[in-house]
């Protein structure tokens, strides 16, 4: 009798568990971080916490290598095979929203009021994606370098002007202590070019596209400001200030640490390596070329695919992931900038006395998102090619005019991308 009762109770319990499991709707999620163990562990932790926190949804993650992630998503969209939740690189988001791969995010937007601007993915007046971190670029150098060259330390309030910046490069060059005064990271290609270098153009007063209409690049990418930028950009290579497109990737990784370069234009993800190598490492703000100092903003973000039949579940997961403890965990794990002051305070490196707190301040003060338009994906590639060509000696005006034509043709071909 006792055995029968026990068996019966076990049966009831197992049936209850089974029905609970059956009641949970599966939400598929694609993530770009395959191969990054730390990132994967943090994300899997959030997913496990979310799955255990409620009984309606179960998120299942499929990871992809970052290099090919966008191609996989576009192919899946064509084949009608998108998951519920996808992550998307901030500047690519408008294209995916415009192409119909994403649907607007229905989270409580009061949660993200205190977020840095970069992680908020707005397109056409609607929130489509939200990031758990941001990334920033700084001019990396050493205090000992500034002292030896007799240079003042620029601050957020008083960044170097363009002339001061060039004087600093001249001083480094004249010292004879470096292979090159400046490492721009020309060995890196792809999104690095528009992300890292278009802020220089914007500081000169130009842009990849005219942001007032988003219907043309005329004037923005080939106007006087852009020409001045292009001439300056070419000088960096022709005058031997920086290694060009043939830079050895190994030098990009270790050149600054090894003392080959006086200054390095690099992201916060490389900051810990520099700090570990030299304890007097400094992260300086971008120079001001006349239109204010600028750096890029926006990194990977979460959104809900248009194919999702359960946007409320997908949004619930994204909202769940926005808790400060998870934002801080990503920052501690992979070194990226937490998007809120409260989460920054919880991190090892971005708290008030954190070694990389300056990046949070840089982002807050200087960040400008890349052009918010579906056409950015084409504009970015055209911009990359133009900058590489100019660095390799192409005529500045002709190259920028050709780039403008290419971007404008693409905009026309796509009916203005909905602008």
């Amino acid at each position: 009798m006792k055995l029968g009762l026990t068996f019966g109770a076990a049966l009831v319990a197992s049936v209850s568990w089974a029905s609970l499991a059956a009641a949970q709707t599966e939400l598929s999620m694609w993530y770009h971080g395959a191969g990054n163990e730390v990132e994967a562990n943090i994300l899997n932790g959030i997913v496990a916490d979310f799955n255990a926190s409620q009984s309606d949804w179960t998120v299942v993650v499929e990871s992809f290598p970052q290099e090919s992630y966008n191609d996989s998503v576009v192919a899946a969209a064509l084949a009608g095979n998108l998951p519920d939740i996808i992550d998307v690189d901030g500047p690519v988001m408008p294209n995916w929203a415009w192409s119909g791969y994403l649907q607007p995010l229905t989270i409580d937007e009061s949660i993200i009021e205190g977020f840095l601007p970069g992680p908020k993915g707005y397109w056409d007046g609607q929130l489509y994606s939200i990031g758990l971190w941001d990334a920033a670029v700084a001019l990396v150098t050493r205090q000992s370098t500034l002292d030896a060259l007799g240079l003042r330390t620029p601050t957020l309030d008083q960044p170097w002007t363009g002339d001061e910046f060039m004087a600093a490069l001249d001083a480094a060059k004249a010292s004879g202590n470096y292979e090159y005064p400046l490492d721009l990271g020309m060995a890196w290609t792809g999104e690095w070019y528009p992300y890292a270098f278009s802020p220089f153009l914007q500081s000169f007063g130009g842009d990849i596209v005219d942001r007032s209409t988003y219907l043309t690049a005329e004037g923005a990418l080939n106007g006087d400001a852009a020409l001045a930028f292009g001439e300056w950009w070419q000088t960096l290579f022709t005058e031997g200030y920086a290694p060009g497109t043939s830079q050895d990737p190994a030098d990009r990784d270790t050149g600054f640490i090894d003392g080959k370069y006086a200054f390095s234009w690099n992201g916060n993800w490389a900051a810990l390596g520099a700090l570990n190598a030299h304890d007097d490492t400094l992260f300086l703000p971008a120079p001001d070329f006349g239109n204010g100092p600028k750096i890029g903003a926006a990194s990977w973000q979460f959104g809900v695919s248009s194919a999702s039949e359960h946007p409320e579940g997908a949004s619930a997961f994204i909202e769940f992931a926005l808790q400060d403890k998870y934002l801080a965990a990503f920052s501690d794990g992979i070194g990226l900038i937490p998007p809120t002051t409260t989460s920054a305070a919880m991190t090892e490196n971005y708290g008030p006395d954190g070694a990389m707190a300056v990046f949070y301040d840089l982002t807050k003060a200087q960040a400008l998102v890349r052009p918010v338009t579906p056409g950015y994906v084409v504009g970015a590639k055209v911009f990359e090619k133009a900058l590489a060509d100019i660095a390799n000696g192409a005529d500045v005006a002709d190259t920028l005019d050709a780039a403008v034509d290419e971007i404008n043709t693409d905009i026309e071909r796509n009916g203005g991308y909905g602008h």
Binding site: W30, A34, G35, N36, E37, E62, S63, F64, P65, Q66, E67, S68, D71, S72, A75, A76, L78, A79, G80, N81, D248, P249, A250, D253, T254, G267, W269, A270, G273
Partner: protein, 292 residues
């Protein structure tokens, strides 16, 4: 006079060996670099690239890259997937393409030459141009298997195998080889009362060793190096092949040592396959003039 000829012969032999050794060294360099680098930490690896040390087992050597690569990527799964997909495709391809070639060469049927021309014309069509239409096709293809009726082949082994079974190059290789076989042999077999299937199985294929080896190696390389197709049709790690897996290592700070360790591991099946078939492969090249 005889002594002078012998000296010349000896000198020529030495020169030949010197040239061949130099060529062999040039071809071996990338492999030696890969294997040596797989045992070095990243910083040392990058610094060694500017000297001969890049090809020598010197400095801080360890198996750390192999350990780290294994924890970053499910290498076993990826190698298994690639070997399975490649092996099955090669076998089915040899069967299908040799049958097709047999039909083109030995059977008389209407439209034979036109169809062969069309198949050969596909050799100049880059795969990239048909990738998207093919993707749309396989995403809607029906299938009846152990799980019952399904629509769509995405995220399966079959989507990586079936579209690659028949191809113009393999058919062309078999056609060329079959054309050189003595017709008398086939006619004698027919006179003896052999069926076409018997001739294919017992006369033609036993003589086709060299072309089978060539076609197998070429197909093996194509399949083992597949990247674009699995990238767009496979969205689950369970079915991913080795070349897509290589992308796992390209993070913000690329792990070069781990990449070399991974490449060393995934090169083993290719080398093993080539070593097994190399004699027949060389014989085939020598006899048909086909370059691999």
């Amino acid at each position: 006079m005889a002594a002078i000829t012998q000296d010349n012969h000896g000198l020529r032999l030495i020169m030949r060996y010197v040239v061949l050794t130099l060529i062999a060294i040039i071809f071996m360099f990338p492999l030696v670099f890969m294997v040596m680098s797989s045992f070095k930490p990243d910083l040392q690896l990058l610094r060694d690239t500017s000297s001969i040390r890049a090809f020598l087992p010197v400095g801080d050597l360890s198996f750390d890259n192999y350990r780290d690569a294994s924890s970053r990527v499910p290498i076993g799964t990826f190698v298994f997937n690639s070997v399975l997909v490649t092996g099955v495709t090669v076998l089915l391809s040899l069967l299908a393409c040799s049958l097709a070639a047999f039909s083109f060469v030995f059977l008389n049927w209407k439209g034979r030459d036109v169809l062969l021309s069309i198949i050969l014309a596909t050799l100049i069509v880059p795969f990239e141009t048909i990738a998207i239409p093919l993707l749309l096709l396989v995403s809607q293809m029906p299938w009846i298997g152990l799980e019952g009726f399904q629509v769509g082949w995405l995220n399966t082994y079959r989507v990586q195998i079936i579209p690659w079974i028949a191809d113009g190059l393999t058919i062309f290789l078999f056609v060329q080889y079959f054309k050189d076989l003595p017709r008398d042999l086939i006619e004698a077999s027919r006179v003896e009362g052999a069926s076409w299937l018997q001739i294919y199985l017992k006369v033609v294929m036993p003589l086709a060793g060299p072309v089978i080896a060539t076609a197998a190696i070429l197909k093996f390389l194509v399949m083992y190096n597949q990247y674009l197709w699995p990238l767009i049709v496979v969205q689950q790690e369970t079915y991913r092949p080795v070349m897509v897996g290589l992308q796992y290592f390209f993070q913000l700070n690329t792990a070069w040592g781990e990449i070399m360790a991974y490449l060393t591991i995934i090169t083993v099946p290719v080398l093993a396959f080539y070593l097994v078939l190399q004699r027949a492969f060389i014989a085939s090249i020598a006899s048909t003039g086909v370059k691999g």
